[in-house]
Amino acid sequence: MLKSTLLVFAAFIASGLTAAAHSINFEVERHAPAVSVHSYFTRTSPLAGASVVIYAPGEDQPYQTGRTDRRGFFVFVPSVAGDWVFEIDDERGHRDRLEISIDENFVRGVTGREELPEEEAEDHYAEPAEKETVSAARIPFFYRVVFGLALIFGITGVFYGIRAKQSASKTE
């Protein structure tokens, strides 16, 4: 009985740990013609020097490769509209993939600057940067709360089992 109870609680812990891995967060900042991606675990622990591969929409071959700077930033200049893929790997067990949608207007700002009337081009370039924060874990908040609680209750159950067993053996 005790063994099966411990197994149930161990399963609780395992289910929670699956979601509790050290996740990467991204902050994507778009300011034509460049897209800047800030990768970090927490604000004070960036993914510095991590390997990055950028893929253009629908392409298998890398469009750009490089490494994040010491603050976890990587900048690239998309050339076409579509879903660009940003892959990051810190070569220490943390890797993730992020899709960044680029629209025609953004690309016009990049490639069509000369074709735009001067005023329009200036307006376009004067647009403030758009910032978007993405949690790489992409696990909804509610599920993360549930996972955390599953871990806590799981450990409580295991601890309870151990203490109950110790008490029972002392009584005997």
Binding site: G16, T42, R43, S45, F147, L149, L151, I155, T156, F159
Partner: protein
Amino acid sequence: MIYICFNINPPMHISDGIIDTNICIAANVAAIGLVWVAGRKTPPGDVPKMGMTAAALFVASLIHFPLAGTSVHLGLFGVAGIILGKRAFPAVFAALLFQSLVFQHGGLVTLGVNSINMGAGALFAWLVWRIRRVNERVRAFLAGMLGVAVPVLLMVAEFRLSGYGSRILYLLGVYLLVAILEGFITLAAAGLFRRVRPEMLD
């Protein structure tokens, strides 16, 4: 600097990379030792109570609300102290560990520092709660206040010792209001337990 330290809002959790790593390692060792000391010989009947309290602490810090132009969250360390006594420390440690793992709230390197700060709040609350000659309502209110005030004072002292400027002191003002709020919440919780499960308070 305030922004970097507190990741937008000023929570009580210190993130990794702020406090000297050697201090953090020493604090982690000390915190694990305290978990062992406070948790050993726990009667099996107290374990579910510890688990429930850890779960409540875990959830409480995720609920933010606006106050004094910023956003703060509750700690419930006073409640933990009066329910669990010294065994509040392992519960605080577990709650902080999973906040760090699941929400990157605080950090793993600073887990020991955060646990000692917040665990001290719960332990001070317990000490105040044990002064039986004082009215129970007053004790509950003070326990709730100390549950927040002690961690914040320790955190501010650690930042000052780490060379951060006096702007950090503004946290004292913000968290004084939270401490008062926690005092009332602890008062209400103690009143509820006294009516429903009085054995939890004795």
